[in-house]
């Protein structure tokens, strides 16, 4: 199982990309120790039957890896949230998209750590395709609340692409700066 929240999120983000979504919204909201994450996409979606199976670690549609018998992204996340006594909700509509919501207290003994979100976001932006991914980050700390939003299209536009190493270096520094400034303001 993954160590950090960011890693779980990255797996689910990849699901959205592979579901053919052209618009994905990722919200990571944090009020003191309370974490709330929402991932919304307009990909191919799932019917009720598939939705149930999606949480079974021994289910996969078999399209990506022909001989593989497991699909671990969502089941791992559901398990981690369960251990942290949090809330987990997965809803979907065939042909319309999928929404994943989960939350828990980061202070819970069995909660996974948040991890480096700037790195999670960078990796999230790097999945290829021309889809839009908008990251919404909000943090309320001891000395106030603040947030930032980064759009994949805007970032790609500002950097002229996200594949050249020079662009990646700048994107990495930009995202780190957003996160560092946020923590500085709110704590």
């Amino acid at each position: 199982m993954h160590a950090a929240v960011g890693d779980f999120v990255l797996d689910c983000l990849q699901n959205s990309v592979e579901a053919g979504a052209d618009r994905i919204d990722l919200e990571i909201f944090q009020e003191e120790d309370r974490l709330r994450v929402t991932l919304r996409d307009n990909g191919c979606g799932m019917d009720q039957e598939e939705l149930k199976k999606a949480l079974d670690p021994f289910y996969t549609d078999g399209k990506k890896h022909r001989h593989r018998k497991v699909g671990l992204g969502l089941p791992f996340l559901a398990q981690a949230v369960d251990l942290a006594e949090g809330t987990f909700r997965l809803s979907s509509e065939k042909g319309r998209g999928t929404t994943l919501e989960f939350g828990f207290s980061l202070n819970h003994l069995d909660a996974p750590p948040l991890g480096r979100l700037d790195k999670t976001f960078l990796s999230g932006f790097l999945f290829s395709g021309d889809h839009e991914l908008v990251v919404h980050r909000h943090l309320r700390g001891k000395s106030g609340a603040a947030g930032y939003t980064v759009s994949r299209r805007e970032l790609t536009d500002a950097l002229g692409g996200l594949e050249e190493t020079d662009s990646l270096v700048l994107a990495r520094d930009f995202l780190r700066n957003q996160e560092e400034e946020l923590v500085k303001i709110t704590f």
Binding site: D7, D11, H65, G160
Partner: protein, 130 residues
Amino acid sequence: MAKMTLEDLRKLREQKKGEMDKRDMEGKDVEIIIGMGTCGIAAGAKECLDAFILEIDKAGLGNVTVKQTGCMGLCYVEPTVEVHVPGMPDTIYGKVDAAVVRQIVEEHLVGKTLVNNHIFDRPAADIIRN
């Protein structure tokens, strides 16, 4: 540092682009693809990505693109990296930590020789692009 804006980013890019244009450009013909599946991340693929960005930037190579993909089907030797260099065989490296990344950049990308002891087979047939 104050909070960066997209405008700052645009300016920085123009600045970098200026430096890049001074270099002798060969076109973007070298491709690095990092496996970022569950298995890859668990084994340190994020550190591997960081290391590639750092080493390629340090070596000043302007013709390299870095991409990421899911699991390549070689979970037992993660982190795995696929390297395409024109005139050299397409290679899948396994167990790629920061030290091996440095070796790949120095030996494979610059020196044009393969890095021994980290070469693994082609990935599962169902994910090979034709």
